[in-house]
């Protein structure tokens, strides 16, 4: 394999592995921008993965040979998104309305969500009596590129630009929209105000509760889609909890790495995606694989330290992150 081929293969593998993180992270960024720290991302991604697979599988079985790939993708997306919304709705209700501690609620949601995802996945396997899988025609619409063959066949650029699955492109669009929303729109400004200082926002007439609910529930839905993307592309439409486990926590790490800016997750997720697989593709002598694998976490910890030492205003976490807002409590 020539060096160029190697680099092309490495980049496309990094993007493929970064795609679930792209969703997991940007969803959590939206959530944290509202001041809610949802540590349930791991659970949400499990739920998204299991329910996305369940949706596509059920549809594939029901439609038989006439199943349409586009419909299957949409169904998987909707199922995963809905599962994530339901999970983060529980979180929102407990932390925003009932003012429960966010860290603990998030962890409880992770326990619940990983359990539920695992349960649904296992149950599907028991019911089917073997590995759950969808037809090859449908698989292609998940894992294959949406672009015509001649574009993908362009040397180098074809693979680097047109060679990814549909979720990569969808994710890029979603992140750009989110960036625009947070940075350029009035509602985005309000949302950031809620995350920085809810009492100020409240005094300015912004409905803190509503913004937090919306950001957390939609953010949770987006994070859950990341789990579905993992199951349907990297895991090859088979329920694989060992591969999915840890993905949510890396997404949380990536939120810090991206300094709470969605636009950074475009390249951040590719970088972390590369770090996730680099130990297979580019082994470095003297550095054991297991140590190689923790590099994303070490890098994130270092970023966290740097950010707190430099105290640059625009790089800080949302000031009210992790705190409940109680209006009567002044």
């Amino acid at each position: 394999m020539s060096t160029l081929d190697f680099i092309v293969a490495l980049i496309s593998a990094a993007v493929l592995n970064g795609a679930p993180l792209m969703y997991g992270t940007s969803g959590e960024i939206l959530t944290q921008k509202s001041g809610n720290m949802n540590l349930g991302v791991e659970g949400l991604m499990f739920m998204g993965g299991a329910f996305g697979l369940l949706g596509a599988f059920t549809y594939g079985n029901a439609a038989g040979d006439s199943a349409s790939g586009v419909v299957a993708v949409i169904i998987a997306l909707v199922c995963a998104f809905a599962a994530g919304m339901a999970g983060s709705l529980i979180f929102s209700f407990l932390t925003i309305t009932l003012r429960a501690n966010q860290n603990v609620t998030g962890l409880a949601l992770t326990i619940f969500g990983t359990g539920l995802g695992q349960f649904v996945g296992e149950l599907m396997r028991i019911r089917v009596g073997g590995n759950v899988s969808i037809s090859n025609a449908l698989k292609v619409s998940f894992a294959g590129s949406p672009f015509p063959k001649f574009l993908q066949d362009i040397p180098v650029a074809g693979k680097l630009i047109f060679g990814y699955n549909v979720f990569v492109y969808l994710g890029i669009v979603m992140i750009i929209v989110m960036h625009h929303f947070l940075a350029k729109t009035r509602k985005g400004l309000y949302l950031r105000a809620v995350g920085e200082s809810p009492s100020t926002a409240d005094a300015a007439g912004i409905n803190v509760t509503r913004y937090r609910y919306f950001a957390t529930v939609i953010g949770g839905g987006i994070s859950a889609v990341g789990g579905m993307v993992y199951t349907m592309t990297i895991a090859g439409t088979v329920w694989n909890h060992t591969g999915l486990s840890g993905e949510g926590w890396i997404a949380v790490a990536l939120v810090i790495f991206c300094l709470w800016k969605p636009i950074n997750s475009l390249w951040g997720s590719v970088l972390f995606g590369a770090l996730l697989i680099l130990y297979i593709r580019l082994p470095i002598p003297f550095i054991p694989t297991q140590i190689y694998k923790v590099v994303p976490y070490i890098v994130t910890a270092l970023v966290l330290i740097m950010v707190s030492i430099r105290q640059k205003r625009e790089d800080q976490p949302p000031a009210a992150l992790g705190t409940a807002f109680f209006r009567e409590d002044r």
């Binding site: 429960a100 149950l123 054991p288 297991q290 707190s308």
Partner: protein, 359 residues
């Protein structure tokens, strides 16, 4: 935007009688079990039969009870470790990593001091695990007290670094059969003795329960931690050395977590796994919080979760329900219990009908 009085107004309350507080919590627990029945029904199992199986398996036989206690030891130990941190409002969610580091230190001595007599070896393993757990917890605390680095996120990252180190050790320097990625079991002098058929860690965590209770309630340290948790400014005006208190408490917490790691590695598994903490570091956080940081309440909650875990592993074999249903039920219980605190801490005032308030 708020022309009207809201439908429900809230105010804080601290005067609810103890009996009612526990009634509410019990109610939430029963509510959670009812939702759990739904889950069983969806899974195609008879809910009543499922619950009966769980409790019979866990409490019907001596072996079951032993397993329950074994499950509860790390949960109780972790919850105890975290109580002072949480009282201080220092969100140490790095217990998983501190446990792992403790287990690594214990394994280090188990590997390298193979020929020592059992008692001194176990003591060294215990002390070593506490030191390494403490150091692992000190790192984020240092940055927190010096630069206000967010400790929730930092301790979270430290978890995975610790797990990675453990994975490397058992697959590299400490690997047994080449290629097995498994560490050989400790020699018998490095395994904790059993008392009443269960590793003696249960005595250690019970003693710790009393110690932590006294520490938090009756010592100067405990007082300082409480003041700092209420208000950092008050602590500073009172002349307390805030960074010192943060670091001291974090080290204490990490040391106890490290000890838990030693108990798991030496007492439960008799070897080191990369996921030696097995989620206890995370579940312990919820145990600690649900117990309202009360050490004695932690015993009850840890045992309860122990029952669930043991019971549902039986469920998998006898009723063919995936064991992951434990996590679902545990999660539901935790979420319900978290939610019910609201009704204890707040009083709701419903809007009364005043004609003049209509816009």
């Amino acid at each position: 935007m708020h022309e009207k009085t809201p439908l429900i107004r809230l105010s804080k309350r601290e005067d609810m009688p103890k009996a009612r507080v526990w009634m509410i919590r019990l109610g939430a627990f029963i509510f959670a079990l009812l939702i759990g029945m739904l889950v069983f029904a969806v899974a195609g199992a008879d809910p009543i039969e499922a619950y009966v199986t769980i409790f019979k398996a866990a409490l019907g036989k001596t072996t079951g009870i032993r397993q329950v206690v074994r499950n509860a030891i790390p949960l109780l130990g972790t919850a105890l470790a975290l109580a002072p941190c949480f009282r201080m409002r220092y969100w140490n969610i790095g217990a998983e990593g501190q446990i792992t580091m403790g287990a690594i230190a214990a394994s280090f001595f188990a590997v390298h001091c193979r020929n020592m007599a059992s008692l001194p070896l176990l003591l060294i393993m215990g002390v070593g695990s506490m030191v390494l757990g403490g150091i692992w917890s000190l790192i984020p605390a240092l940055f927190k007290s010096r630069w206000r680095t967010n400790e929730t996120l930092f301790t979270l990252m430290m978890n995975y670094i610790a797990i990675g180190i453990a994975a490397w050790l058992i697959g590299g320097p400490w690997e047994g059969k080449p290629g097995s990625q498994i560490m050989p079991v400790f020699s018998s002098n490095a395994v904790l003795p059993k008392v009443l058929g269960i590793q003696c860690g249960w005595i250690i965590v019970l003693v710790l329960t009393v110690v932590i209770f006294v520490y938090m309630r009756y010592t100067k340290h405990g007082y300082e931690v409480q003041v700092l948790g209420e208000s950092e400014n008050t602590a500073r005006y009172a002349g307390m050395n805030v960074p010192k208190i943060i670091m001291r408490t974090a080290v204490l917490s990490g040391a106890i977590c490290g000890l838990v790691g030693f108990l798991i590695a030496s007492g439960t598994h008799g070897t080191l796994y990369s996921n030696v903490a097995g989620g206890a570091g995370f579940t312990g956080i919820t145990v600690c919080w649900l117990a309202q940081l009360n050490p004695f309440a932690m015993i009850v909650i840890a045992l309860l979760l122990g029952v669930l875990t043991k019971g549902s592993s039986t469920l998998q074999t006898s009723m063919a329900i995936p064991a992951s249903i434990t996590d679902i039920i545990t999660g539901i219980i935790l979420l319900c219990m978290l939610g019910c605190e609201f009704f204890i801490n707040y009083r709701m005032h419903f809007r009364e009908n005043h004609a003049k308030e209509a816009k």
